[in-house]
């Protein structure tokens, strides 16, 4: 899926020409693109990835409900074009500030919140068929990686083993990174930055010959693409370490199958072979963590039910068993509950044991 700058520019121009043609014909200017909701996301059993369905949505200008979004979509298209013209990249935040301006002689801002411009950018990806990175828009750096890997990035050689306590910050666009040497047997991706720091301090990656990767909360696209590349190019298994709750499960789900809102990007992000390492319901029993249970609230139950109903979990007996156990416990667990066994318990006992026994959920 390598597309070059020319193609991206062409796609943006196509969008503009189509709308101008509408206007010249006296037709309400309309953009049509795939619907980006759960109802239009299908789980492709072949590829084991989420994909967009057939449903299309229309965005017309002369429509009270659409007008603002229409305006915003064109605004970010304009920003992207201007970035491509001068060969510069901007962050999502930058784009937000570029679009956050007041329309002359009114009190209307084109966007008020970053979520609006972010959404418009995602839509633009779908409309043009070009990813954010190709549109010269990057996300902020979020997340760290450490391990025995040497890469080349923009002409610099970087050794992930020698970057101090912070590790290497993963950029939003990892397309142009070149892996020089990769010495690892597997990758552990974890939800919590704090856990990553623990493992890094314990030199877990060195002792276990692996890579440790984290994000903060939801996994960013840069990280997902990085993991996918390491998995595809070096056949490294990926194990996910997340909280035992609905959100932890979804982090795993996104990594493995792709996300609902970015189903169109699954091809470049999903890693169907990723495995869930923990925390599982069985861990709660085997490692005697029940006393660290956190009672489920209404929202937890709702989220749990949503996840259990996703097509890609629905027929998975092992996962349904986990969901049921959580419901029976009426409780969730955080990764950090393991710290109650001692600060290095996770790096010296829990992880090595689980990996040795290959105790994963698929």
């Amino acid at each position: 899926m390598k597309k070059n700058k020319k193609e991206t520019e062409k796609a943006l121009e196509q969008l503009g020409l189509k709308l101008v043609a509408d206007i010249e014909k006296g037709k309400n200017p309309t953009i049509e693109f795939s619907l980006r909701t759960l109802s239009n996301v299908v789980f492709d059993k072949q590829s084991k990835k989420l994909q967009l369905g057939e449903k299309q949505q229309q965005r017309t200008f002369f429509n009270v409900g659409h007008a603002k979004k229409f305006l915003q979509t064109l605004e970010v298209a304009k920003v992207s074009k201007s970035l491509l013209d001068v060969d510069k990249h901007a962050s999502l935040r930058d784009v937000f500030y570029m679009a956050k301006r007041t329309i002359p002689s009114s009190n209307i801002n084109i966007v008020d919140e970053q979520t609006e411009s972010d959404k418009a950018i995602e839509d633009l990806e779908l409309i043009t068929g070009h990813s954010r990175e190709l549109l010269n828009i990057n996300a902020n750096k979020m997340g760290s990686v450490a391990g025995n890997v040497i890469i080349e990035d923009s002409g610099d050689s970087i050794n992930w083993a020698k970057l101090g306590s912070g590790g290497w910050s993963i950029p939003s666009n990892v397309e142009n990174i070149e892996f020089k040497t990769v010495k690892a047997k597997y990758i552990i991706y974890m939800e919590k930055q704090a856990v990553w720091e623990r493992l890094h301090e314990d030199k877990f990656w060195e002792k276990q010959n692996c890579l440790i990767v984290t994000s903060q909360g939801q996994t960013t696209r840069g990280i997902r693409r990085l993991l996918q590349r390491l998995h595809d190019e070096f056949k490294l298994p990926i194990y996910v370490l997340a909280d035992f709750d609905g959100w932890g499960f979804y982090i795993y789900s996104v990594l493995k199958f792709g996300s609902i809102s970015l189903a169109h990007m699954s091809e470049e992000h999903a890693i169907p072979e990723a495995k869930f390492l923990g925390i599982t319901a069985d861990d709660a029993i085997n490692y005697d963590l029940k006393k660290h249970f956190i009672k489920l609230k209404e929202v937890d139950y709702t989220r749990l039910k949503q996840i259990a109903d996703y097509d890609w979990f629905k027929k998975n007996k092992e996962w349904q068993r986990q969901f049921k156990m959580m419901k029976d416990f009426g409780a969730k667990l955080e990764i950090q509950a393991l710290s109650s066994k001692g600060i290095t318990f996770i790096s010296e006992k829990y992880l090595p044991e689980k990996i040795k026994k290959q105790e994963f959920l698929d």
């Binding site: 503009g16 006296g26 305006l71 074009k81 002359p104």
Partner: protein, 549 residues
């Protein structure tokens, strides 16, 4: 006290104990009648004279035409001249009416009128006399065949009797009417609680009155009448038993000509027939055949308890003369430049045996200030109440109404905020004021309930108007929104395609007026016409604006 030669001290004290004349009482307590400061005194003098004139005109079925002139003499000295076209006053009565406190026809009757106690105008005369030393000048003529009588009057503050300074017959080109001139210490300031405001409000609530007003700055305002229809003549009624108090009952018992308690009850009260009278006596454990003169205080008290226990039908309500929904609205239209008017007139109700009617009107929008608290105009028997707004049950009822339902802003239980004037009018044979200066209506549950119901009726009418308005303004806003968006979209498209912005812009603007596009924008068939009206109006304006350029 230690001096044993002396008499008990009580004798000494007795020398100082004597009757206090009402007039003397007034000089010391003028605030009780509303003459507490110069500004208010000026208003009170005008108000008392105007109230009397209007009452007199209506009673004699004359369409009132009243002229008021305030002349600045010097410093804080003002001359107030009020002239009406009323029936006039017979010569003999002039001194008593104008120069004797608590003299009048209204106190003893239960009848809807502006004045009640017979204090008002003589209090103004007394106040003028006390502050300027000048007597009041009265000119009155009762008909074309009689000459007009002229009096200069003072009040003897010791005896509360009129002192005639001068008396003569005069030529007057008016067939009938009365003119009073009082010099007094006052202060003329415009604004709330001013004479100007009082007269304006009087014009609102009395659409059948013409008022010609000249203020001290020689500015003349004429409030012309909006209807030739006089309010119904209010009927006098006997008191209803439920409203009777012990003192009043004892008085009545003493002066009645009836020979038995039963006939006393039937003849002195409304809605009491022989059967009801008997039932009252039974409930009070008093014999119906008792002579009224022999009824003791204890028995009278029992009688009152007996009345409360007896079911008596409500007093007749034809004695009331409300303004009516239609005239109320006319009055508002006449004096307030708003965009929406509504009014409602409640059916009669009763508090403590006194029938009353509540009427409410609302004027909304237009030139009424937007971001201020709603202006509440309170009236009792067609008289504006300008003071003590906070202490009045009318204000309370408005504050306790939920105005948010009707599309206005309101924080907690307070007066709502919005471009609105609320008029509340209470007509009753006896309006329960909280004080003698007649500024606030007392908090009777029955009255508050009626005010709230009336306010709600108007509120609902207002609410549907406000909603419709905001719907239309929403549509206009949406149309405006697209006008703002178009240049932005054109700009983006021009950059994306490299085409000229101007062409794209014009293309989009052309589409904005296409019917099917308009339909998309307004999204509401029902109000399409209203919208179109507003929208076209707007387009016309834009066109005319653009023409010269």
């Amino acid at each position: 006290m230690t001096d044993d030669k002396s008499q008990p001290i009580a004798y000494e004290l007795a020398k100082k104990q004597k009757e206090i004349s009402v007039a003397e009482f007034f000089t010391k307590n003028r605030h009780l009648l509303g003459f507490d400061n110069r500004r208010k005194a000026l208003l009170m003098a005008v108000k008392e004279a105007v109230d009397n004139s209007l009452d007199a005109c209506e009673e004699s079925r004359v369409l009132p035409e009243i002229s008021i002139e305030i002349i600045h003499i010097n410093n804080f000295k003002y001359r107030v001249v009020i002239e009406d076209n009323g029936p006039g006053i017979v010569k003999k009565q002039i001194p008593n009416i104008f120069a004797k406190l608590l003299y009048g026809s209204k106190f003893h009757s239960l009848k809807q009128s502006r004045g009640q106690q017979g204090i008002g105008i003589s209090a103004a005369v007394l106040y003028g006399q006390l502050t300027t030393g000048r007597p009041a000048r009265i000119l009155s003529r009762v008909g074309p065949k009689e000459t007009a009588n002229y009096f200069e009057l003072n009040i003897d503050t010791q005896t509360n009797k009129p002192m005639i300074v001068r008396e003569e017959q005069k030529e007057w080109n008016k067939e009938h009417g009365t003119r009073i001139e009082i010099d007094l210490e006052g202060d003329y300031i415009k604004g709330n609680q001013s004479v100007d405001e009082y007269l304006k409000q009087t014009a609102v609530i009395n659409p059948h009155v013409t008022i010609i007003y000249t203020n001290p700055k020689h500015e003349q305002v004429i409030y012309a009448r909006a209807t030739d229809e006089l309010p119904n003549n209010a009927q006098e009624i006997k008191p209803h038993p439920y409203g009777v108090e012990l003192g009043m009952l004892l008085d009545k018992l003493r002066f009645t000509e009836s020979r038995t308690l039963q006939s006393f009850l039937t003849s002195e009260f409304s809605r009491v027939g022989p059967g009801t009278a008997k039932e009252i006596c039974e409930n009070a454990a008093v014999l119906p055949s008792t002579k009224p003169s022999e009824v003791s205080r204890d028995m009278a008290e029992k009688l009152i308890q007996g009345i409360q226990k007896t079911k008596i039908i409500s007093p007749p309500t034809d004695c009331l003369s409300p303004i009516g929904q239609e005239l109320m609205e006319k009055g508002l239209r006449k004096e307030l430049r708003a965009e929406f008017y509504c009014a409602t007139s409640r059916p009669p109700s009763v508090y403590r045996g006194n029938p009353f009617i509540i009427e409410v009107g609302i004027a909304y929008g237009g030139e009424i200030p937007k971001d201020e608290k709603a202006n509440i105009l309170r009236f009792a028997n067609r008289v504006p109440l300008l003071y003590q707004e906070g202490a009045c049950s009318m204000t309370q009822s408005i504050m306790e109404t939920n105005w948010k339902t009707y599309g206005l802003n309101q924080s907690g239980d307070s007066v709502p905020v919005g471009p609105m004037v609320i008029v509340v009018h209470m007509s009753s044979v006896w309006v329960p004021f909280t004080s003698e200066s007649k500024e606030a209506i007392a908090h009777y549950q029955e009255i508050i309930k009626e005010i709230k119901l009336a306010v709600q009726e108007c509120g609902r009418m207002l609410g549907s108007y406000v909603r419709k308005k905001s719907k239309i303004s929403g549509q206009i806003e949406r149309a405006n929104m697209f006008e703002k968006y178009i240049p932005e979209v054109a700009d983006s498209l021009a950059i994306l395609t490299g085409k000229k912005k101007e062409g794209i812009l014009q293309g989009l603007q052309k589409m904005l007026v296409k019917p099917e596009i308009k339909q998309e924008i307004i999204q509401d068939d029902e109000d399409d016409n209203l919208y179109r009206m507003e929208f076209n109006k707007k387009e016309e304006n834009e066109d005319s604006k653009e023409e010269p350029a």
